[in-house]
Amino acid sequence: MEKDEMIKKMVEILADEFEVDAETIQPEANIKETMHLDSLSLVDMVALVNEEFGVEIKTPDLPTIKTFTDLYDYVFTRM
């Protein structure tokens, strides 16, 4: 999968799962703020990424994933 294609798919599934407008998912936007994530829904995001892309986000890595660009890079390099 190309990175562009991965990003497109990621935006689609995140917007759907967390019921936000896909337009608000901008590369440099803050993930938690954009999708209103708390400690519970953060686990949903981790599960979704694992199910859709086969990439397991490790708990210690989470603090380094702040923006959507961070997330795309993390996932793309491990797919």
Binding site: S39, L40, L42, V43, D44, V46, A47, N50, T59, L62
Partner: protein, 127 residues
């Protein structure tokens, strides 16, 4: 609300419960209320999380249901004397929040599938 807990690996376990005649979730129709099945899943999850914490040398802390999603109940619900068999899979875990997926059957008939999040207290949390 768990009689038997069977560890398979870090991400999987099974459990059993035979519904006692005085189970608090039994309703007037003699069947376990749906809430009772959810409690059984929650306690199965708690047993699994507690077992893993113990193996890792951590203390076992109190756990709470954080959320329940995609729960589907297929009647008839179990009655007193029926044995529930639950298969539990850990889907993901972040910090002290664990997301599980569960399937509960009676006589090989699935009565509940659901996803549940369990939040465990941190060691030393103020009570």
């Amino acid at each position: 609300m768990v009689d038997g807990y069977f560890f398979e690996d870090d991400l999987h376990c099974r459990s059993e419960l035979t519904v006692a005649a005085d189970n608090m979730f039994l309703g007037e129709g003699g069947c376990v209320a749906e809430e009772g099945l959810l409690e059984h899943v929650a306690q199965t999850s708690a047993a699994h999380i507690g077992h893993i914490r113990k193996m890792e040398g951590q203390s076992v802390t109190l756990g709470y249901i954080g959320d329940i999603k995609r729960a589907v109940f297929t009647p008839p619900m179990p009655a007193a004397g029926d044995t529930l068999h639950t298969k539990l899979t850990v889907v993901s875990q972040v910090g002290n929040v664990t997301l599980v997926s569960a399937e509960t059957s009676v006589d090989a008939r699935v009565v509940l599938t659901c996803r549940m999040k369990l939040a465990n207290e941190n060691e030393g949390d103020a009570r």
